[in-house]
């Protein structure tokens, strides 16, 4: 009984693009050399590695020597926070990697609006004279909301001016975790006005355990991992050549197609949302309906158990996430849903649907039908049909 699988959890993981695999392939065996070795074939690998970093940097308007390649976004985030002694401002809806890093400093968590937007005003209000770092995500991994980074950057710039005028010397940096949304948004660091950027290859059809931290020229961090001094001394360890080549290819593809892809996904997402809303008028859609990633749809059926729906749909071949992994995930509700003020019984009945390259309109048609069927069956089971 082979089922057609419909994958709707692109925020969790993305399948590697064939072109990415193809680009990586030679670096596993044919040209496996250590880029630091002196002989010509190794030097050629070094050149390929540097060129890949340049192409990668170009996808968000940066330069190769501003990148620190890491083993994923979590490491990048840890590096961005490393050595901060002062106060940190971040939002209550960041990824756990950011929240845990912030925990290690004195920090203020800024609350989002009930639509899941972190406003520049609330960030401004949280800034203190000793604030050294502001970290706000580009887009939320649960509800897909897109944050006004440019507005926040202006608030930060104002604070820098204030400090300069007042003769204060505490530096203030702005980091953004852009793990989500790279393939659907234009991520130009100059336009966003940030100082540090975290990207994650595994969320954009590249290999997992590969990421980067971009540091604007003149921005300094202390290394987390010391050793042979690779990556300008900021991240020692023999370069993950194949991984970075793959990451570069993935980023290039994602960047090249992001506009068309966002348009395509928004259409699919809106179709599904409309049909579900029509079938279930009480369904709750979380997150700002406009300022939201094109492939993201976060819905809740008050009174139902999201995890049961996930298991029902998994049996029908539809793979998606619970909005709030109440039981399986150590008994904790989603901090994001709590922060936007979703009532616990609504949060418990939620589903996170994230579409991507694998998703086509036939998938959305079938998945929508199956979701409607299974949600109805659950309502029937609890006697609320």
């Amino acid at each position: 009984m082979s089922l057609t699988q419909i994958y709707l959890d692109h925020a969790a993981a993305t399948p590697m693009d064939e072109r990415v695999i193809h680009a990586m392939r030679p670096f596993f065996d044919d040209v496996f050399f250590n880029p630091s070795s002196p002989y010509a074939p190794a030097v050629a690998v070094r050149r390929e590695y540097e060129q890949a970093k340049s192409r990668l940097a170009a996808t968000f308007g940066a330069k190769a020597d501003e990148l620190v390649m890491t083993a994923g976004a979590t490491e990048s985030i840890n590096l961005a926070f490393h050595g901060v002694n002062g106060h940190v401002v971040t939002s209550a809806i960041e990824h756990h990697a950011v929240l845990a890093a912030a925990e290690q400093c004195e920090h203020t968590l800024v609350a989002p609006t009930d639509k899941g937007i972190v406003s520049a005003d609330t960030v401004a209000a949280a800034l203190r004279p000793d604030t050294e770092l502001v970290s706000i995500q580009l887009a939320n991994n649960e509800i897909g909301t897109i944050q006004p980074l440019r507005d926040i950057a202006m608030v930060i710039e104002n604070e820098r001016h204030r400090r300069a005028d007042a003769g204060e010397t505490t530096p203030l940096l702005f980091h953004s975790d852009a793990s989500q949304g790279f393939g659907q948004l234009d991520v130009s660091v100059a336009r966003l006005g940030i100082d540090m950027l975290t990207l994650n290859s595994g969320k954009m059809y590249g290999p997992k355990q590969v990421g980067l931290l971009w540091l604007k020229a003149g921005t300094h961090r202390d290394p987390l991992i010391v050793g042979g001094g690779q990556e300008r001394g900021l991240r020692s360890g023999t370069e993950n050549v194949a991984g970075v080549i793959g990451f570069a290819k993935a980023a290039e593809l994602a960047h090249k197609h992001h506009k068309a892809e966002a348009k395509r996904l928004a259409k699919l997402r809106d179709t599904m949302q409309q049909r579900l809303q029509h079938a279930f008028p009480d369904m709750v859609v979380s997150g700002h309906t406009k300022k939201r990633l094109a492939g993201s749809l976060h819905i809740a059926f008050p009174g139902l158990d999201g995890e049961r729906l996930v298991f029902r749909l998994e049996a029908k071949g539809v793979l998606l996430a619970t909005g709030s992994a109440c039981a399986a995930n150590k008994g904790s509700r989603s901090h994001v849903l709590e922060a936007i003020g979703l009532a616990p019984d609504v949060a418990d009945g939620s589903l996170r649907i994230t579409m991507g390259k694998l998703t086509d309109s036939a998938d959305i048609e079938s998945a929508t039908n199956l979701i409607i069927e299974e949600v109805m069956a659950e309502f029937e089971r609890i006697g609320r049909a």
Binding site: F311, A327, R381
Partner: protein, 343 residues
């Protein structure tokens, strides 16, 4: 319609139990008992996966599903008991305590409070008119672990698997397409898993090295790293090497000494008489002089015995009757109760 709460662990046995009850027309609710969630060095506690599997099967069967959180009570009554017993030099059986204190007390009480008429578990055993009987599958029979359950609790308990053998259970689970049909059975004490009891106890009990003494010569053969780790009759793990294998024939906790012998017929290894304490009878106590059968460990052979005032006279001597373990008494297929072996 009778409302039954089924303890679902995420394994194949309790999954099929729930499925059979649904088929038999009961109003079934699946319950995962959250008893232990702690990882140990070298072992990840699989509770979250097991919970998800239990819930998957409940969803598959279209039944209600709940989680009962007994972590505090389990730590206190089962794990605490086990550690305390080891400290005293005995070899306890935490599964028996879990059934007595958690599954057939706390779970039953909570289920009844929440509207259940009965409970069910995936144990291999039978209940008839409130009496506990050995399972059809003598090889899997779990009455040894159930002898401390109250008769009143059994009157509210269903054991649907008592009629089947384990291979039949697997087949029936497969036929029904249950998600857990192919899942491996768990091994050993659930919260210790594969890492071994020694590593577990080391987290909780501080031990001192002591002498391993040969009873034949009275000489020390080497050092052990804590007498609590040694169990009567045990052969492996003495690390004294060479020649004939040694067996543990006794220990003195106050002197922290472990006694060993190469003599398989050592008188300390074989017992004709067993004294019991903490007696528990499911319904009525046996009378002195009653001819019964006893089992001194799970899956051990049944041995004829005569009961008298908390002691058993065995028809044939038994090897390694271990203090702290249970001696469970039977009259034919009927499990009547038993007690804990005294040193």
């Amino acid at each position: 319609m009778t409302k039954v709460f089924v303890g679902m662990s995420g394994g194949v046995d309790s999954s099929l139990t729930a499925a059979l009850l649904v088929e038999q027309g009961y109003d079934v609710t699946g319950v995962y008992m959250k008893n232990w969630t702690q990882d140990l060095p070298g072992m990840r506690c699989p509770w979250a996966d097991d919970l998800a599997d239990a819930k998957r099967v409940a969803v598959q069967l279209g039944i209600d599903f709940r989680v009962f959180d007994f972590e505090t009570e389990y730590r206190d009554k089962v794990v605490g008991y086990m550690i305390e017993e080891y400290k005293q030099g005995r070899t306890p059986n935490p599964d028996i305590m879990c059934n007595q204190e958690v599954k057939f007390k706390l779970f039953l009480e909570t289920a009844l409070e929440q509207g259940a008429d009965m409970i069910a578990t995936g144990h291999y055993a039978k209940v008839q008119d409130g009496q506990l009987l050995r399972a059809e599958d003598e090889n899997k029979d779990q009455t040894y672990f159930l002898y401390r359950v109250e008769g009143a609790a059994l009157e509210k308990t269903l054991f649907p698997l008592g009629e089947y053998t384990k291979p039949m259970v697997r087949t029936m689970a497969e036929e029904r397409g249950l998600y857990t049909a192919g899942k491996k059975d768990s091994q050993g004490i659930c919260f210790v898993g594969q890492i071994g009891i020694r590593e577990f106890l080391q987290q909780y009990i501080e031990t001192q090295p002591g002498d391993i003494i040969d009873t034949a010569s009275g000489q020390s053969l080497g050092r052990h790293d804590g007498a609590i780790f040694y169990t009567l009759g045990q052969r492996h793990g003495l690390d004294i090497g060479g020649g004939l294998p040694y067996y543990v024939v006794g220990k003195d906790m106050s002197k922290n000494e472990v006694y060993v012998s190469t003599n398989l017929d050592d008188e300390n290894l074989w017992k004709h008489e067993i004294t019991l304490q903490n007696l528990h009878w499911i319904h009525n106590a046996p009378r002195d002089g009653d001819e019964l059968q006893v089992r001194i460990r799970h899956r051990a052979a049944l041995v004829a015995c005569t009961y008298s005032k908390g002691s058993l006279r065995l028809a044939e001597p038994q090897r390694a009757v271990t203090p702290g373990q249970s001696a469970v008494l039977y009259q034919g297929k009927l499990c009547i109760g038993g007690g804990i072996v005294v040193q």
